[in-house]
Amino acid sequence: MIPVIESGQAHPYPPRITEFTRQFWDALGEGRFMTTAGVETGQLTFPPKPVSPHAWDEEVEWVELSGRGTLYAHTTVHASPSAFVGDLPYRICIVDLEEGIRLATRLIGSAEVSIGAAVELVAVRHTDGLSYAARAMNS
């Protein structure tokens, strides 16, 4: 399980949801960070997909991830697309999850985080939908 926090604001640029990815977003709202794996190989992929990009078949299953990982890279954005001007400056990071999945997301919290540090994913509940972010572990 991962923590669920409230942003109190609408999402500046919400993701589109399909019948398939709705399972990801619904689970996220319950504090579970899910993705898909090929049934045959067990190989994970992210974002979740209705096909396995490795095996090229539709035999996929949902797997819950711990949400824990390490910081691979990070930056602070000072010039943004118009939708995000109200967020400036904001931090973006790449996280290597302990199950062997790499993803990019927002880095939140005021803690200084350096590359290699332990981070955790949190679900972020906006007034109009869900998102997720990474933050320093125990922050």
Partner: protein, 398 residues
Amino acid sequence: MSRSVTIIGASALPVGKWQTQPDAETQVLEHEVLAKLVVDAVKTAGIDKGDIQGLSFAMNRHYTLQKYFATFMASYLRLPCYGNVSEVLGNGMTGGWAFENAANDILLGRSKVSLALGINFETAARAQDHMMSSMRATGDVDFHAPFGITPITWYALDASRYIHEYGSSRRELASVAVKNRMHASLNPLAQFRKPITLDEVLDQRMIVEPLGLYEVPPRSDGAVVLILAEEDYAKSLGRPYVRVRSRGFYHEGVHQLSDVPNDMTAFGAARAAGEQAFADAGLLPTDIDVAELYAPCTIVEVLVSEALGLTPRGNGGKWAAEGRTSLGGEIPISTSGGLTSRGHPAYVTPLYSFVEAYEQLMGLADERQVKDAELALTSAELGNYNAALVHILEGVHS
């Protein structure tokens, strides 16, 4: 395949801000600008219009209102042809594919002479509005864009990782911007030509840390026409020309970020495409006299020069800081001024790289001429160098 592709002429618009606002009373329109360049290039090359059998366009930005631009231009220029008339799109590699598309017609024997050309007008759009579109190009609309990840954010992430792994520094990376501005000061096609100091680069406001204003690409408009020809045709003109010695391409099957952890800053696609090009040419990176690299930010030039073997891994920043990649150095890189100073009209940027290689190999580069340049390398890319297209070019003077 016994045929070879050559470049026998080039014409380019100085990179800058040319696009007019949508409500301007008098407009600067793409087709007029490009038509004049075509006529200029063909006249300078001294060839017959009727010999041209292909028009391969880099696709226009969506701001260009004239659609079906390729066939519109074929009409505007009254050019019937058998080869092909098309527009290609490949993100940052778009101009590179325009070149390949023209070259392939020549290699297949469908055309003796083809134009690779394009015009990229976009500067009338505000940066923050333009980024609403470009963030959808350089990421997953549903799993990257919602975080506000802009195109150059990926390169900034590379920079943070590279500094962490190799003990490089913002200072070292920033020296690439100083070097390229010095090159641009000698290039009439460059957008920014006033030399800058390292302190000036470091003093600019942050855009995406650790990259400041002078370490990221400006907004640019530009247009290029290249004349490609089968080698027999080039020889018949009795003048020097540039021959495509080899090319390499690789896409790593990844859009921006691999969900399977890899060495992100190794730019594996550039390495693979480069190895292919060097092997086909029977050359080594040390044989190259001048390299014109697709590098939107300082860090990208460092990483791609390492991936191509032009500088040692982990030392690309150091080499730039030491002047070893400057004009007069061991391997001059981005003698045009590169994307930060020559400018970055993205869809035609790879075509500008061919223009620089052409001028260097033809001895036309005036003050920025690399002495006795015989072999040049160009690269084009898309994403976070998830794909790379590498060409090795040689000057033929006999």
